[in-house]
């Protein structure tokens, strides 16, 4: 009987293609929206997490000043000194390495090509606290770090712009007026989370940058690597206490430096994207329910419109259950068809939108299954009422219906 009903339902859908299409439109849009939103949301979360992971997850970024900006008036808080770096490394338990940073911008020139880029002065600790491997060459030697030699490790953007396809290692390029040897090349890191190309960089020993580019001994940023076995909050507390002491901040006065925990940002940003995904998904889910109501409306109209047909079926000997089942199966087949079309459209939308939103293309099987299952359930729920109405018709009245 089920197969018979299925045959009847498919015949009826095929006979009224336009009406069937209009019926499922709401489901198509709803399923496509849910699948697209959830998938893109998860892709965004993944992208954010990946970008944060590329910064290193167990790193504290320590900067002078309060919060993100250098907010408020008053004198600019002093930068860090080398002694601060040494103190943090030696006096706080759980610190694996401390990479000081001094930054400048400069024009790099090689063989007639020139490229304006960021110069980052640091030490080998920079490569210890965060995951960033070399594709070739080596890091600084102790002698180069201590003497402030003109050697540099270049990011991929700088490499391609200056050296094209040739091997950069061992070549000598110019950075402003410094002539400097390329000793290493970095692997590609991609876009930073909030704009900016992380590969557009030249890394030199901090002493070289301080002496020959910035002209002072200031350190603008410390990257503090933390042993995974230690509690980062505790390390942060100790770090804060130490720095307050060294910078002679009165008790009760506010810090004139800030500590930025990447793990914490990661959690916050992930939480935010997840929340946004949930909200957008909820809106999409509402459209799915509206789609279900659309099915119910058209099925109800269809029952009225097909009263005579139902009368014929009943007169011929269809029992009420068969008529009910036919309309129910019709609604389910329609909404599942809508679900299927919605999934396909959703996948197309994801493939088109992912590159625009700069998130990776991913396929989430669960949401596709769930959305499809929901479309089937909608067919049952919203198809039942019209089907029951059809089955309850009196054959004599139904046959007389004009």
């Amino acid at each position: 009987m089920l197969f018979t009903t299925f045959t009847l339902a498919v015949r009826s859908i095929r006979r009224h293609l336009l009406r069937s299409f209009l019926t499922i439109l709401g489901i198509v849009i709803g399923v496509a929206a849910v699948v697209t939103m959830v998938t893109l949301g998860q892709a965004t979360t993944a992208a954010v997490q990946q970008q944060i992971a590329s910064l290193g997850t167990n790193i504290l970024q320590v900067r002078p000043g309060q919060g993100f900006g250098r907010g408020g008036g008053g004198p600019r808080p002093p930068d860090f000194e080398q002694a601060d770096v040494d103190a943090v490394r030696e006096q706080i338990g759980g610190v694996t390495a401390v990479a000081p940073q001094a930054q400048s911008t400069a024009t790099a020139i090689y063989n007639g090509a020139n490229w304006s880029t960021t110069i980052n002065g640091t030490t080998n600790a920079y490569f210890q606290v965060q995951p960033w491997n070399l594709t070739g060459g080596r890091t600084f030697s102790r002698a180069e770090e201590e003497a402030g030699k003109a050697v540099c490790i270049i990011g991929n953007t700088v490499r391609t712009n200056l050296f094209r396809d040739t091997d950069a290692i061992g070549k000598r390029m110019r950075v402003n007026n410094i002539s400097c040897d390329v000793i290493g090349t970095l692997e590609t890191r991609g876009q930073a989370g909030f704009g900016g190309d992380q590969d557009d960089i030249v890394i030199m020993p901090i002493k070289t940058v301080q002496r020959r580019l910035t002209g002072n001994r200031d350190i603008r940023l410390m990257l503090v690597g933390i042993d995974a076995d230690y509690d980062s909050a505790q390390v942060q507390d100790q770090l804060s206490t130490l720095l307050r002491e060294r910078r002679r901040i009165e008790p009760g006065a506010e810090d004139n430096f800030n500590i930025f925990d990447t793990a914490q940002i990661s959690a916050t940003l992930t939480g935010t994207t997840t929340l946004l995904t949930s909200i957008v998904t909820a809106v999409a889910a509402i459209s799915l329910v509206v789609g279900g109501i659309g099915i119910m409306n058209i099925m109800l109209v269809s029952v009225t419109e097909r009263t005579r047909e139902i009368g014929i079926r009943l007169a011929i000997g269809a029992v009420a259950r068969e008529v009910l089942l036919q309309f129910l199966v019709e609604a389910i087949v329609l909404s599942m068809l809508g679900g299927l079309v919605g999934l396909v459209i959703g996948q197309i939308a994801i493939a088109l939108l992912a590159p625009v939103m700069q998130v990776p293309w991913i396929f989430v099987p669960q949401i596709n299954l769930i959305a499809f299952a929901i479309s089937a359930v909608i067919g049952v729920v919203f198809g039942f009422f019209p089907a029951r109405r059809a089955a309850a018709l009196n054959p004599i009245d139904a046959l007389r219906h004009e």
């Binding site: 015949r11 005579r308 009368g311 007169a315 000997g317 029992v319 046959l399």
Partner: protein, 243 residues
């Protein structure tokens, strides 16, 4: 089975004191006031009478589409008045065929699919449906038109498809409600010849409501209704002379 003038005496249908009342209280309307009627197996019965005489109500009851308010309706010795909706549906499916004035074919559906419909409900597989459906269409002379939809067929052809649909299950009784009401006289005669042929050669008992004495002339028995009662029953011994 039953030729002209030699109707088997065994009644397939018995109505005993059948009443039908629509509504209740002071607005109640009694459509049937105690109908007694026997219909013999293999008979060709025309039911006549003015509007409101109760003939349509009787036909609905005989077609198991409606139940009497009172009295007994025996169909093949089964008390139909005691059956529920679904049981009556199964009875219709198995033993009855319907032909309507307005043809009542499914639109946008081929002649063959229309004819196959009752077999689908009976649960026959595709091959059986095809064979029987084509055989029924052949009987009404439309096997070459099997893939045409009702919109592509003339009125007479549509009615013949409807007759094929009614006989595809080899029913005992064919109920025709003014089958020629929407057709011109030439097509009407064709339909009546077809019904006569089915009655004589396939042994199907035919019950037909009609207004037209010309059409009633094809029947063997003519039942006249008046005011919710059977007024008189004529035996037409010259049945088929019109053929």
């Amino acid at each position: 089975m039953a030729g002209a003038g030699s109707v088997a005496p065994e009644p397939i249908i018995r109505l005993r004191g059948v009443t039908k009342t629509y509504g209740d209280g002071p607005t109640a309307f009694q459509a049937l006031k105690g109908v007694d009627l026997d219909i013999a197996r293999g008979d060709f019965v025309a039911v006549m009478g003015p509007s409101g005489s109760g003939k349509s109500t009787t036909m609905n009851i005989l077609g198991c589409l409606d139940v009497p308010t009172g009295g007994e309706f025996l169909f093949k010795d089964v008390h139909v008045e005691t059956l529920d909706r679904d049981q009556r549906a199964l009875l219709r499916r198995k033993y009855l065929g319907f032909v309507f004035q307005g043809f009542n074919l499914l639109s946008r559906t081929s002649a063959l699919e229309n004819v196959e419909l009752p077999l689908l409900y009976r649960g026959d597989d595709k091959k059986v449906r095809r064979e029987r459906g084509m055989a029924a269409l052949e009987k009404v002379g439309l096997d070459k038109w099997w893939d045409h939809t009702p919109a592509e067929l003339s009125g007479g052809q549509q009615q013949r498809v409807a007759i094929a649909r009614a006989i595809v299950t080899a029913p005992d009784v064919l109920l025709a409600d003014e089958p020629t009401g929407n057709l011109d006289s030439e097509r009407s005669v064709e339909i009546m010849k077809l019904l006569t042929d089915l009655n004589r050669n396939s042994g199907i008992t035919v019950l037909m409501v009609t207004h037209e004495p010309d059409m009633a002339a094809f029947a063997h028995t003519v039942v006249h209704f008046k005011d919710g009662l059977v007024e008189r029953i004529d035996q037409n011994h010259r049945q088929g002379e019109a053929v």
